[in-house]
């Protein structure tokens, strides 16, 4: 089998087919008018607003409206109770803290009293000892 030149054997028919396919053709009659007419037509797809309305349409049912209102009320009541409990617990904790500080304050002050009395006793003893030793020397 021999191959002529550097082109494949079927190159010529393909090239002619391409040339045929890419040949300039005139647009069919009224093409431009039809395009402009389509452009002027409203969009057939559903707008976003319409799509949102679809799930909101559930509230059109009265029962759903009541259920939603009841859910909101329950959430508010539960939230209120929880908030009040937190506030109450915090107030009780602060009161307990004040009690603890008061207890420490009283304990500290009474120890301070004991300490000062010991100081006083020691000072009196030292003074007595010194006067006694001074009298003995004399």
């Amino acid at each position: 089998m021999t191959v002529s030149n550097d082109r494949p054997m079927q190159a010529e028919p393909t090239e002619s087919a391409l040339r045929n396919a890419l040949r300039r053709r005139e647009a069919p009659e009224g093409f431009a008018d039809r395009v402009w007419a389509r452009v002027a037509e409203p969009d057939s797809r559903k707008p976003i607003g319409t799509r949102r309305e679809s799930w909101l349409r559930i509230f059109a049912v009265p029962l759903a409206r009541w259920a939603a209102a009841a859910a909101v009320c329950v959430a508010l009541v539960v939230g209120g109770i929880y908030y009040r409990n937190v506030q109450r617990e915090r107030a009780q904790g602060e009161a307990a803290k004040q009690q603890l500080i008061l207890a420490l304050r009283i304990a500290g002050s009474k120890l301070q009293v004991a300490k000062s009395k010991i100081h006083q006793i020691n000072a009196n003893r030292v003074a007595t000892d010194q006067s006694e030793s001074h009298e003995e020397k004399e």
């Binding site: 904790g93 008061l102 009474k110 004991a114």
Partner: protein, 189 residues
């Protein structure tokens, strides 16, 4: 008696025993009644869980409160009764003696005992367990004021000294505090 009732009684008895053990020193009912005669009364009863809970509210940003939280971390209870009267002689010596007699038993050491006719008496008792402080009781019987402080739990001298100086209390000089082992007692009449 049903099994349920027996269990209930046993649980009550157990709870009472645990509370009594935790407090160790019980305030006599006669002393508790003094609040009716007192001009001012301070009654603080804080057991272990209550202390833990109260200490949660001590601010970590405040250095004094931070120290206090550390101080009470290992304590099992703090019990304070303080009664201030308008006139002298509103409480009897027997009521104070009933308190003192509770801390004369084994395990207790009287480290301070000051007697003053004019200023009143102050007694400080330490509870020792394995040569470590396990509690402190302060009984201050002044002519117009009676104060009982009972702190239960491990409390070494450093912690004790830290009790002073907090929240505006003058700092307690640790060196001047007698050591529990010495049983130093100052008597003044």
């Amino acid at each position: 008696m049903s099994m349920r009732k027996i269990t209930k009684w046993l649980l009550t008895l157990l709870a009472f025993t645990v509370t009594a053990r935790a407090q160790d020193v019980k305030i006599p009912p006669d002393v508790e009644k003094l609040s009716a005669k007192a001009k001012e009364t301070v009654e603080v009863t804080m057991d272990g869980p209550m202390l833990r809970w109260a200490s949660k509210f001590l601010s970590a940003d405040d250095p004094d409160e931070k120290k206090a939280a550390k101080l009470v971390a290992d304590l099992k209870g703090i019990y304070v009764r303080s009664y201030e009267f308008d006139k002298e002689g509103e409480y009897s010596a027997a009521e104070v003696e009933a308190l003192r007699s509770q801390v004369r038993g084994p395990g207790w050491s009287k480290v301070v005992g000051v007697r003053s006719v004019r200023e009143g008496d102050v007694d400080v008792f330490f509870k020792l367990q394995d040569d470590k402080m396990a509690g402190i009781v302060i009984i201050s019987a002044e002519p117009k004021e009676l104060t009982i402080v009972n702190i239960v739990g491990p409390l070494d001298l450093d912690q004790l000294a830290d009790l002073g100086g907090e929240f505006g209390i003058p700092k307690l000089d640790r060196k001047t505090l007698p050591k529990p082992q010495l049983k130093a007692q100052g008597e003044q009449k």
